[in-house]
Amino acid sequence: MRIYMTSIMLSLLFLNVSFAEENLPLYYWDNQDGLVSAQDCKITTTSLSPFRVSSYTGNNKQLTENIRNFAGVRQSNLPTGSLVKFVETKNVKEDFQKIQVIGNNEGNPMSPHRWFSQRGDQGYLYNQSLLPAEDYIFELGLGTPDIKQDEVFKDLLNTKWALISESQYYKLSCDRLDQKRDYIVFKVYRVHDLYRPAALVGVSAEETEVFKSFSSTPKTEMADKIPAFKREALLVHLIGNESELIEASDEVEVKEKIEEEEVHEVTALEAAKNTFDEKVANPLRAIVGGLKKVVCISGDRLNVRNSSLDQVLFKTQLGEPVKVFQSFNGESKEKLINGERYVFVKVQFPEREESDQKEGWIAELFIKAESDCKYIESKVDVSISHLDIKGLNDSNCCEFPTVKKPTHAFTSGARAFGAGRSGGARKHAACDLYRFEEEPIKSVAPGTVVRDRYYFYQGTYALEVVHSGGFLVRYGELDKKAVSGMSKGRKVKMSERIGYMGKVNSNCCRPMLHFELYKGTARGALTTGGSGFQRRSDLLNPTQYLLKWESEKF
C-alpha cells in the first residue's frame, strides 16, 4: 500500500514537472561559435557515449587515479570526478582504456600539484576507474568559454549539466551537423532554477571546450539537496514533441548550404583584397613579429573549403592560427569568386580539437603573420605586470624546473656549466638537467614568455621567459610536443607546465632540460658569436641557484 501511494505521488510530481519542461530550446556546442541553435535538429537514440568520469580503484580511498602510458608507467594524476573521453588506439592494453582528459574536476578537494593531469593529456586509465558520465552533474566554472550571444543564457558560469540516459543515450541529428559525430544530449540547468532544465545541448567528443572548467558531483549526492535530481524526466517530456524522437539512423543525407554563406565570404574577400592593393610589395621589409600565421579578414567568418573548392567544410575566424602546407609539387588552386580570381592554399588549424576540422583550403590572401594583420591588436609589446618575487635572491624564489630530481648531477661532467666543448673552444652555457623524455618542464618563477618556441638544436626547441624580478631563463632542448597556449606574451605562474623534456636527433645524450640563466641587465639576443660561452654578457652560472631550489623541492 505504501509503495502504491508513493508511486502515485511521484507520478503526479513527474507529470507536473514534465508539463513545465515542454518545448525546451535545443542547442549544440561549437568550440568556435559557442551555443548554436539546433531547433531544426531531431533527437535520435544511440547506445554509446564517449564520455566517462574518472574514479579511483584500490584499497584506500584516493582523490586521484594514475594515467599511465602503454608500458604502465605513471604519467600524471587525474583528480577523481574528472571528465574524459575514449580515444581510438591500435595499442589495446588489457584492463585499460585509452582516454583523453576533457577537464579536471575542479571540485576535487585535493590541491593541484605538479603531477596533476591537464586537459588534453592522453593515456591509459584502469577500466574500473571509468564511471558512467550520466551518474554525475557537472557545474561549469570560471574558465568556461563565452557562449557568444544567446537569449536563454547570459553566460554558462555555474550552469549544471547532466547527460541524459534512459537505458540509451540521445544525440542530435540534422543535415547541417557532421554525421560522423555524435552530439550527445545534456540537460542544462540555470544557476537558480534547478528544478527544471533550461535547455538541451548536444556535445560532441570532438568539441568539448565547454567542459574545460567544471566541478562534478555524483547525482546521488546532488539528489539529497535537490529533489529534481531524484528522478530522470523522460526526454520525450522535455522536448514536448514525441514525433521529433526518431530511431537512430546512420544514413542521413548531408546538404551543403553554401549559397547563402558565399555572400558573406565575397564581402570579406573584397575588403581584404582592397587592403592588399594599398600596400606596396617590398620583399625586404621585415615584418615586426614572428612568421606564425593566422587568418586575417575584416569580417567575422571565412569559409574553409574542400580540396575541389566546391564545398564549405566549416568556418574559420579572424586570428585563428593556421599552418600552410607546402606540398613538394608546390600545389595551389584558384577559384573565381565574384569575378575575382583567388589563389587557395591548403592549411592546417593546429589549435582545433575537432579532428575533422584540422585541414581545409582558404584563400592565400587571408593568411598573414599575426603581427602583420591590421585587424588584430598588436602583441609585439611584452610586459611584466606582476612582480611576485624581487629576483633570484628573494626567499620566495624559485622552484626547480623538473618534476623529480635529475637522474645525474648537473654539477659535474659535460652537464655542468662551463664544461668544455669542441676541444675547449667553447664553454657550456647551461646546466643540463637529465630526466625522461616528454616529462613536464616547469616554470621556475612567475614570468612572461618573451620568445615562444623556436628551432634550437637537432630537432629540439627553446622558450625564453622573463621572470619576476627581471632575471631571464632560456629553457632549451624542449620536446616537439607543445603546451597549448604557451606563446609570446603568455603569463606563467611558478611551477606552471611550460614544455616537455626533449631529446636531440643524434641521441648523443639523455633527454634533458638545457637550463640557461641570465641576470637580465643586458639587451640583445641570448646567443652571440665570438668564443667561450657564446652568450650574452649577463649570462649567470645557474648551479648555486639550481642546487638551492633542488634541495628545497626534493
Partner: protein
Amino acid sequence: MKNSKTFKFIVLAILFFGVWSYLKKDQLPLEASLESEQKESPASQVNIQKIEPEKTVESISNTSSSNALFVAQNKDEESLSLMTQILKDSLPLEKESQDLVRELEKNQLSPELARDTNPYTGDMMIVRTKRNLPGTRYFHAQYFVGEDGKEFLQHMSFEFKGGAGAFDRAISAAQTLANLGTPVKKTKDFVQWNISENREVWIKVMGEKDLIDDPYNAYTKADIGTIRLAVEKKIHDDQHQDHIENEQ
C-alpha cells in the same frame, strides 16, 4: 757529433712541420675556407656545373661508399642541389638575413622576413619562403642579433622529399655541394657533420614524432619519411664522452 744530431733533429722537425702544415691546409674549418672562397665565387653562382670536380672528389674521398659525386638525376634533385647550395652560400659569417632574402628572391622563392623582437632578449630574424622548388619545401632560417647589432645564423633548414634512396641522395648532395667530409655521426636515419667549432650540418629522416607540433610547418602522417637538412649552431659536443648515451 752532438751538433750533427741536433742539426738532423732540427731538419726533421722542419720537415715534419712542413708536412703537417700542408695536410692541415685542407682541414680548415668550412666557415674559414668559405670566407676565402666567397671572394672568388659570387653567391649567385649556384649552378651545380660550377663545382670543381677535383676538389669535390678529394673532399669526399674518405666518406662512405654510398656518397659518390652527386649529379642531379631529376627535377627534385636539381632542387635539392640548388637549396643545398643556397644553404652553403649562407654560411660565411658576414652573411646576414638580407643576403639570404636576395638569394631566395633570385630563385623566385618569394621569401618572407620577420623580426621577432622584444625588449628583453632582442631580435631574431626569421626567413621563410612562400614558394618552393619541386621536391623541396619548408625553408626556414633564424638569425640572432647580438649585443653588437650583428646578425649571425643560428638555424637554417629545408626539407627534401622522402622515398627509397632519398636519404643517401641528400647525404651525397650535402657532401658534394657543401664539401663535407666524413660525418661525425651516422645512423640509419641521421647523419651529422661538424663544419666548425661552432656549427654543424645534420640530415634526418623525419619520423612521426618529429612531425608533431612543429610551430611553423604543417604535416600529416603521409609526411613520415620526409628528409630535413639543417645547419645549426652547436650546443653539445658529440665527442664528449661524459654525455651519457640515451638508454631509453
